[in-house]
Subunit: 404 residues, 2 copies
Amino acid sequence: MKSCGLIVEYNPFHNGHFYHQESSRQKTDAEITVAVMSGSFLQRGEPAIIDKFARTKAALSHQVDVVLELPFIYAVQYADLFAHGAISILNALEVDYVCFGSESGDIQAFKDRYTHFKEHEEQFQSLLQENLKQGYSFPQASTEAYDAIGLRSKELDLGQPNNILGFSYVKAIQNLNSDIIPETIQRTKSGYHDETIDHDIASATSIRQEIVSTKKLTKKAEQALPSETVNQLSLYQQNSGSWHDWELYFPYLQLIVQSKSEQELREIHGMIEGIEYKLKQTVNRVTNFQQWMEQLKTKRYTWTRLQRMFVHLLTNTTKDEVEAYKGLTEPPYIRLLGMNEQGRAFINQKKKQIDIPIISNLQQGNHPLIKIEERATDAYYSVINPEQRTKLRKQELTGPIMIK
Amino acid sequence: MKSCGLIVEYNPFHNGHFYHQESSRQKTDAEITVAVMSGSFLQRGEPAIIDKFARTKAALSHQVDVVLELPFIYAVQYADLFAHGAISILNALEVDYVCFGSESGDIQAFKDRYTHFKEHEEQFQSLLQENLKQGYSFPQASTEAYDAIGLRSKELDLGQPNNILGFSYVKAIQNLNSDIIPETIQRTKSGYHDETIDHDIASATSIRQEIVSTKKLTKKAEQALPSETVNQLSLYQQNSGSWHDWELYFPYLQLIVQSKSEQELREIHGMIEGIEYKLKQTVNRVTNFQQWMEQLKTKRYTWTRLQRMFVHLLTNTTKDEVEAYKGLTEPPYIRLLGMNEQGRAFINQKKKQIDIPIISNLQQGNHPLIKIEERATDAYYSVINPEQRTKLRKQELTGPIMIK
């Protein structure tokens, strides 16, 4: 069975995602689509609007065959580390293709740029190290170094967010010596960051803006969402009282900053360049998350970096932990969130072929990454009512979602 | 000006407290009453029903002349340490008397028992050490040792909670070589732990039971409370949305236990005998504080010990911190919460006589105890709405309450 990997967040699963899986299938002629999805927290440092199982149900109901969880330790990170985590999972599962959406849509451009990158890698590495020494963050340091070696070309605009991610996937495939064949499809109509919905294919950002601000599933939003996503979003709101957004976590973040010493704050991943002092200075001056972010934001400390830092603060994720596990070339386990009948046949076959355990619940293992996963999950659910929290948490300990 | 110290919690200030200050004044012929009061959290490990300034206003409005804050590090502790902290403050301020309420009412009995204690101290200490080695908690170990040296006698029932506290005050005065003269008055009518209100003098426990369960200031409760307490209780409920009780803090405690490792939990003061494992085992099985306590409670791990541990967990108070400061024989500062005109004259006089700084806000000093005080305060206010939180927190940074 030819299989195609998709690297996703499904926050929430929308018509564009449906189009992505359909086109990827056509492009690669794959029978099976395998999504690796961020769990409770997302790449740009946000809590997912609804939980991972609800998002999995929506995806499986709309032709995605298998949904795997991208470990938390990789999910809330800059593009290269995010990509490394996702590709290492797909590689371990020995999928045939990865097909990603990009602004470019031309896989040859990505490959050419990768060749250019390899030719200038030595120069790139020394520039990167120099930039890091000067105090730049990793993404900033590497962007600067990319520019210096002339990687940004007319062929491929590496200023575009999905092109950047795509390039990271291509690099990760090479770094892991993987046999996965990369493919790309051009994203249609709406940009990644678009904030309004104008079409039946709209960005996840614009959909969230629309429904979080009104706290309602508007007609406009529904137009951009497949039926099961609409169903899952309204069920979640009904049962848990609210969709997730940062404001719900504000009192927790405030208490954590108040109760930890500067030294304790410094142990948290992403707590760099003295931001711990600024957190302490501002914590008692603000009354909501938005306000706090505005007080903290600088050119160097971007919105996304701050949000990621807050995720790691909320989940008590330390620098030591990320350092210890970020370099794993082989995942210690593959976590299955859900599958349909066809996906089940695929997974059963793989279980015979590969050595890495495929687990579906957090009790089936004792690796430190699982402990971190549990913490992230608990922190994510901390803002909903206790009864629903207990119920949703049980899902983490039972089998995967099965859709016929 | 002859002065009499009162060691109090005023949770809330009720008719019995008014009677206590009036009788203490008569008994000692003091012109000035100086209360040392627990701040945000109380000796038995509970958040105060309303904030320290509201309780100070009530006390000052009903003839208490000066209210000082008992540092957090001493407030949420077993009787000996609580007493040590309170007496060290009153001693530093050179008050003439301490007058405490007791079931006994006979100061000579306390003195006699102290003499007996001193005569058997060597034996007591070795028994105490032995009991501690066997894994008893400090209060349990000392109670056992008291019994073994025959301290519990007909003269003084040291099974009664206020007699125990009183004996701790008498001991602390001696241990600090203080000139303070201890006095006691007999508590009237209601016992410390009484849970129903039958008189206009009722226990604070029974008053809280009555109003917290109904979320209302009932007629019955009002009957036991002076006018300004009624006023402050209703103002607080109106502005902050709720009186404080443990259930409000439950989601925070849950997140803290989920996000800290066993090793991190072990650093917290009061986290002993492996209770950290039991916390981890139960955290996801419970949906409220009461339920959690019931699952954790054992004969050895009493309700009070568990509550104190939860206070230290919420405020991130470590074993190292308590060890570092619990033995101070002289307080690094005296914190003034409020005073009336007569109290002001007294404090102005003292400022000339003593070297220890008398401060009224948390910005007037940089001692680690002040940092701990700030953390406790922040944690206490974390459960009320953000606007009110910001407002109440500002009180900590401004001058004392003044009543004419």
